[in-house]
Amino acid sequence: MNAIILISILGILAMMSEFIGLKKFIYPIILVSLVGILGYNICTFWNTDPILHYGMLLHNNYSIAFGSLLITITLFWFLLTRATYSDGEFNQGDHYALILFSTVGGLILVSFTNMSMLFLGVEILSIPLYILAGSRKKDLRSVESSIKYFILGSFATGIMLLGIALIYGATGSFDFPTIKAAVSSQPLFYVGITLLSIAFAFKVSAVPFHFWVPDVYGGAPTVITAFMSTFVKVAAFGAFYHMLEGLFDSIPMYLSNTLIGLSALTIIVGNLAASYQDNVKRMLAFSGVSQAGYMLMVFPILTLGAKSSLFVYLAGYAAANLIAIYVVQAIEKSKGEASVENFSGLAKSNPFLAFVMALSLISLAGIPPAAGFFGKFYLFTEVINAGNVSLVLIAILGSLISVYYYFKTIIAMYSSEEISTSSTPAFGFTTVILAIMSILVVLIGLFPDILLQVGINI
């Protein structure tokens, strides 16, 4: 709750920074505040009794763990995108404010216990992003991205609202405990929960509700794509699982079958589509779809292990994806477009960038020692534990396909003789950040116990 208020204030401060003369200082202020809020959030509330705020938000270990992950992602986003904003291409104050507001939406989404807060959270998360996606105002693709995201996003929100309304009709409440107690075999309730699931499937970009992803991710400014494909995904997954956990003790048969089907379909379609992409940014967009498929595997299982594996997977995914998208942005900056050919010879012209890119792709592909491997292993363990071996086999086939497209880029970077144009390796702030993030990716992969101790307590 405090984190939500503090970050809102920080957002307002960022918005006003332009005219109250804080423009120079707002960046360090945001960084320090985010670190402070993160520390405060963890140190004060972790492993304490859950606090219910006004019957609306529940502050427990789950919301602290996911909330801290979200704040960490925002923090790293700020660290990585420093160069872009000091160039002055975008209006720094506006962007920072919108990102911070979006963060608030994400925090609400992992702690709501009332349907109205769910709706508010989704809106607060999304509306700033509709604007940000279109922030390159003269670029047609950016505007297209914004409009597509807005229209389809509003549509999904509409469906969600209808679902909430139907559930209200069936149970007479917005409040989770009340709904849970009143769950009956009323068809109205099931229609409602299905509609809500569809809305969430849209938000987490599960097939067949993924069609907006490549255009929106591909068209939006790459810094915004970085935020959307990591932060929004974590928030949406955290919210979806939180909702299912709040409404059911165990997922009813028809819903769990739907989710399994959704997951299998997402894995297959996402991976196949990604393998056809020539542009690395679009490839990462589709890979994000397929990653959503892996994560959906544990949604039919409401156990501590499943929850914990989702958390660990999301953390690894977010770290690797942020690195990858940063490298994409660097390539776009020096060569205009992030096609696979433009990556060729990167290992020679900028070995560090090539190395972190290779590491993040290896992590996304789920190969040891990177974080992605442990995440996948843990997910698979939970799913097999729940008795669904065939779904894991589908996921394994998917991973195999994913190796094809992830390694296409790695091969281009490492095997082409072609020396690319003079993109001098700039050693500086972002290099350090990238190095830290890469170390994190390997650390999570090799010593996942740090995250697991969090995971098994949520």
Binding site: F377, V403, I411, D449
Partner: protein, 487 residues
């Protein structure tokens, strides 16, 4: 403790090489592998055969999932660690004379690979085993990708996808084993306690056989191998065939035989059959090869086929033969690949038809070539003979007909090795090779140890067989103990 040292010392060395820079890389890299070899020899000299697992360490690693950093060495592990530690300095030395660009990168990757390989051979925890198994794949992938020939992109990609497919299927099997284990833990002792129904065993057996079979490779999963061996730099091929394929064989010894005895009895025949088919098939193709390196690749499939057949023969002789032949094959194949490297450096080609009469220009080379080749076709008194003899005894006890068919390989082996030797070395001296030099000092320093090991292990096989017998007996014991009487 010493096991941990063996695993992590190469990693530290890799870091030092990386920091040390291009100029120091060969010196540091080779010194490090020599030190590693000395450590391995020390482990050998202090080894207590009767004690089973020596130098065992178990530290909690991912405690919430029951994963430990558990390593140790029994006889089989030690034999393979010795092989790895013995071959690495030779492989690095051999790369000195080759035209590899960016030697530093190669040494770093090779050292990382050594660490992973020793990890695979010493892991006592199934999860740890898997991590090392995958870790070994990444350096060799980059070695093939960075230093391979012009076909490398597609070829290494096929190799990677193939082996990763096997690994992922194995991962599913591992997770399944973990889930049905009495205690949630990946520890060796615990996995050995798993009791599965025959049907479950068959599935797990299929999954693990696929993973290990691709790595070895066993017919029909071998199709990645010839092209990868041909396209990779020779040092990479040495790593692949000298050490890496032993991972698959070791995996079966350690994790399949004791865990899945019923499946072994039910389906072992299929594995032996595939192996025997592979032997004949690869031998026949080998005879037809015009490129000497590709020929060696097929010869490797044939040899590994024989090892694989012995692996499933469920007898002491067969399994002892497997261990002996693993070592022999490792040493011999590195020797013969180095011969290939020398041929390529001197003549610029590996097309057998373009070579000929080199004995006249390179008499010393010819001697080494003959010895290594004889070891490779298992002449008595060389190391190849011991393993092959034991393997044939094992396979014969299992099924005489299989042994008879597999025996054809002795004849075929003589055909392809001797005829290729004849075409390359004997005959009229070709004038275009008049200026080529005989062996240099570095080259001798590689070939002499190889030849010494060939004869030492050929004449005193008990140096290794005594070491591994208790471990092999332990595995057989586990197989027979857990087999229901009804079978």
């Amino acid at each position: 403790m010493i096991t941990t040292l063996l695993i992590f010392f190469p990693l530290v060395a890799a870091l030092i090489v990386f920091i040390g820079g291009q100029r120091l890389a060969p010196t540091v890299g080779i010194t490090a592998t020599l030190i590693e070899f000395v450590i391995a020899l020390f482990a050998y000299s202090n080894f207590d055969t009767a004690a089973g697992w020596n130098y065992a360490v178990s530290l909690p690693w991912i405690s919430s999932l029951g994963i430990n950093f558990a390593v140790g060495m029994d006889g089989i592990s030690l034999a393979l660690v010795l092989l790895t530690a013995f071959l690495l300095p030779l492989i690095l030395l051999s790369s000195l004379s080759s035209p590899l660009k960016d030697k530093k990168g190669f040494y770093v990757l090779a050292l990382i690979m050594q660490s992973a390989l020793i990890g695979v051979f010493t892991a006592k925890d199934l999860f740890l085993f898997y991590i090392f198994w995958e870790l070994a794949l990444i350096p060799i992938y980059f070695i093939c990708l960075l230093w391979g020939d012009e076909n490398r992109k597609l070829v290494t990609f096929k190799f990677f996808i193939y082996t990763l497919f096997g690994s992922l299927i194995m991962l599913a099997a591992i997770i399944y084993l973990y889930n049905v284990a009495p205690v949630k833990s990946f520890a060796l002792e615990n996995i050995y306690q798993v009791h599965l129904s025959p049907c479950e065993q068959a599935y797990i057996f299929a999954a693990l056989f696929l993973a290990f079979g691709i790595k070895m490779p066993v017919f029909p999963f071998h199709t990645w191998q010839p092209s990868t061996y041909t396209s990779a730099p020779i040092a990479g091929t040495m790593l692949l065939s000298g050490i890496m394929l032993k991972m698959g064989i070791y995996g079966v010894l350690r994790w399949v035989l004791p865990v899945l005895p019923t499946a072994l009895l039910e389906w072992g025949w299929l594995a032996v059959l595939l192996s025997v088919i592979g032997i004949i098939y690869a031998s026949i193709i080998a005879i037809k090869q015009s490129n000497y390196k590709t020929l060696i690749a097929y010869v490797s499939i044939a040899h590994v086929g024989l090892i694989a057949a012995g692996l499933f023969s469920n007898s002491l002789e067969g399994l002892q033969g497997v261990v002996a032949q693993m070592l022999a094959h490792g040493v011999n194949v590195v020797g013969i690949l180095f011969v290939v490297e020398i041929l390529l450096n001197r003549t610029g080609t590996l097309e057998i038809s373009k070579l000929g009469g080199l004995r006249n220009q390179m008499p010393q080379f010819a001697v080494f070539f003959v010895v290594i080749m004889m070891a490779s076709i298992a002449l008595p008194s060389t190391n190849g003979f011991v393993g092959e003899f034991l393997l044939f005894v094992g396979i014969f006890n299992y099924n005489p007909y299989f042994a008879a068919v597999a025996g054809v390989t002795i004849i075929l082996g003589a055909v392809y090795m001797l005829s290729s030797f004849q075409k390359i070395m004997l005959g009229e001296a070709k004038t275009e090779y008049n200026g080529v030099l005989d062996l240099s000092l570095t080259e001798k320093s590689i070939l002499i140890p190889v030849v010494i090991v060939i004869f030492v292990l050929g004449l005193f096989p008990n140096l290794i067989l005594d070491l591994t017998e208790p471990a092999v007996n332990g595995i057989l014991h586990a197989v027979q103990n857990s087999t229901p009487v009804a079978n």
